[in-house]
Subunit: 371 residues, 2 copies
Amino acid sequence: MVKKASITLADGRELIYFGDQADEAASYPDLRRLPRIEVSSQVRHDPLLGEWVIVAGHRQDRTFMPPADHCPLDPSTPERLTEIPAPSYQVVVFENRFPSLVPGGGLGAGVPGGGRDGPDGLLATRPGNGRCEVVCFSENHTASFADLTHDQAALVLAAWIDRSAALAALPGVEQVYCFENRGREIGVTLGHPHGQIYAYPFVTPRTARMLATSRAYQRDTGRNLFDDVLAAEVVDGSRMVTGTEHWVGFVPHAAHWPYEVHLYPRRRVPDLSELTAAERDDFCDAYLHLLRRFDRLFDAPAPYISGWHQAPVHADRSEFALHLELFTIRRAPGKLKYLAGSESGMGAFTNDIAPEAAAATLRELGAGGRA
Amino acid sequence: MVKKASITLADGRELIYFGDQADEAASYPDLRRLPRIEVSSQVRHDPLLGEWVIVAGHRQDRTFMPPADHCPLDPSTPERLTEIPAPSYQVVVFENRFPSLVPGGGLGAGVPGGGRDGPDGLLATRPGNGRCEVVCFSENHTASFADLTHDQAALVLAAWIDRSAALAALPGVEQVYCFENRGREIGVTLGHPHGQIYAYPFVTPRTARMLATSRAYQRDTGRNLFDDVLAAEVVDGSRMVTGTEHWVGFVPHAAHWPYEVHLYPRRRVPDLSELTAAERDDFCDAYLHLLRRFDRLFDAPAPYISGWHQAPVHADRSEFALHLELFTIRRAPGKLKYLAGSESGMGAFTNDIAPEAAAATLRELGAGGRA
């Protein structure tokens, strides 16, 4: 069982240390005078697309790429107080100071209820009920996830598992998403190695689509779509990147992004909580090796988005297959894949790199040592 | 009826001049020695999302932001030959030299057939059959669409209508999308005012979702979803931006982007070809006024994506409502809306600007004169 200890920050937010030194770290109080941020969040239903959009009005002022010597994710020193009061930490999770989603939506009782047939008819609005957390992977400001040791990665995974379960238990939460954005090119405002966790009050549009195709496939064939897609990719083999005892990583047949890898456990489970100790342990090797391949793709470490696709909290749990999706928006040194008219307007992606070629490149790069 | 005249470029591509001087312009041959670009394009089915992705292998080398004195969209001069052989033009359309989609997919007979039940099973591939065209709005390199006169805009609209019908008639084409990307921030590689037209061999993912929600609504209520959403927005009124005799423009209730306007004809029609002369004429005023509001949002003209949502060519035509969607990815001067983990990974958008506030800002900016 992972050790953890939590404190309350000066403005009332929760912060949780993970790791052997958690209790020691939690003995440091937050000494800042930190005003409470006024947060309001709604989710609104798009009646034409059939999906929810978060409207969070306060976030325009959020911290914009502070210089490295003012990083709010570094440990605190006597001279400089950061978001993390302790002078040292292993992995730490805390509530985002500028969240998109907050418990109760921060709205009080002022939001109309109803649905398509309710008082707000087609234009439904709900409280943006949920929670947004920040996960610091390391106290080392210049590290990246790929630099972590196996044990450090295992502690991050333990934090993801712990937080996913805790957030899933909050009232109104329908899905939990642990992810990392890495790189200025995708708008990351803090260079310190960190990820985020969103607890949504709806099933996300992408997951909803996967579940709809999966249900239709089950109805038509009696089989599970995720199982059959994974089996088809393994049999085809031309897009395989990595295979360990418990995990399989491949560029999908219809990859949307220049370099994109989906990493599945060989045994289908709905979410992180159901992974065995052996699967967790093996994941760290598989994922670290994969990230190191990505870091060698270009002249500089690749900007990437990486996220855990977990089953919704309340529905369709037995159908879904936990997996991680990792992709970079860089298609060549200095060239980014932009989402312009076809992608953003119509959802129609063009990939300039054949998935088999992307997989071959990633295979050839090798995973390096160290993990 | 709009005048037009077409020629064949040196590498075999088609180019079409629109406007009163079309015949004169078409008398200039393409004098370049232009190698034919080897094009291959596939579309691949994503079995989990139930959508098609274009894989086009040749595009990595495409022209990257040439200096203004080498703009390939300027008219030709005796000293410098461009994509447009004539020394002057009004509106011109030509096949993209670096297309994502080409007739027959450029693949010959080498692509397997089938579908979910076909020989390629879950991992279906088809030729990337279609066509990609470039539309130059003006010969003036430094103009933008918002700078056009009413008559110039009317000629662009006439070209969109003409090309939409012509492309819809090509074998295998399922949807035609006329759009403009404006601004370096969204990856536009040429500053000259221009748009694009994609003729897809599939119904785009976004349109497919709209049609699915629309069919479900028709089944449940006996009513048309687009009609009811438009009526609900008009009745609500808080997000209205512009209303003319024939067109209504509003920020949608669940806008995904910081500033986003949907422009509908008051009378539901499936596509551009069904607009009356009065509706076409009125559109030019409505759209030019809207673009000029967008250009006044920030200290510099807003980067934007604007696109026509038309019914598919063969299916669901009576359900669909033609409309234009215009949005900017800029949320404040110097600040872009990035599609990071939540948006790109899960399709879950966070909008930092309340749609009612965005609409109020756009209303207050005023449309200016000139249209």
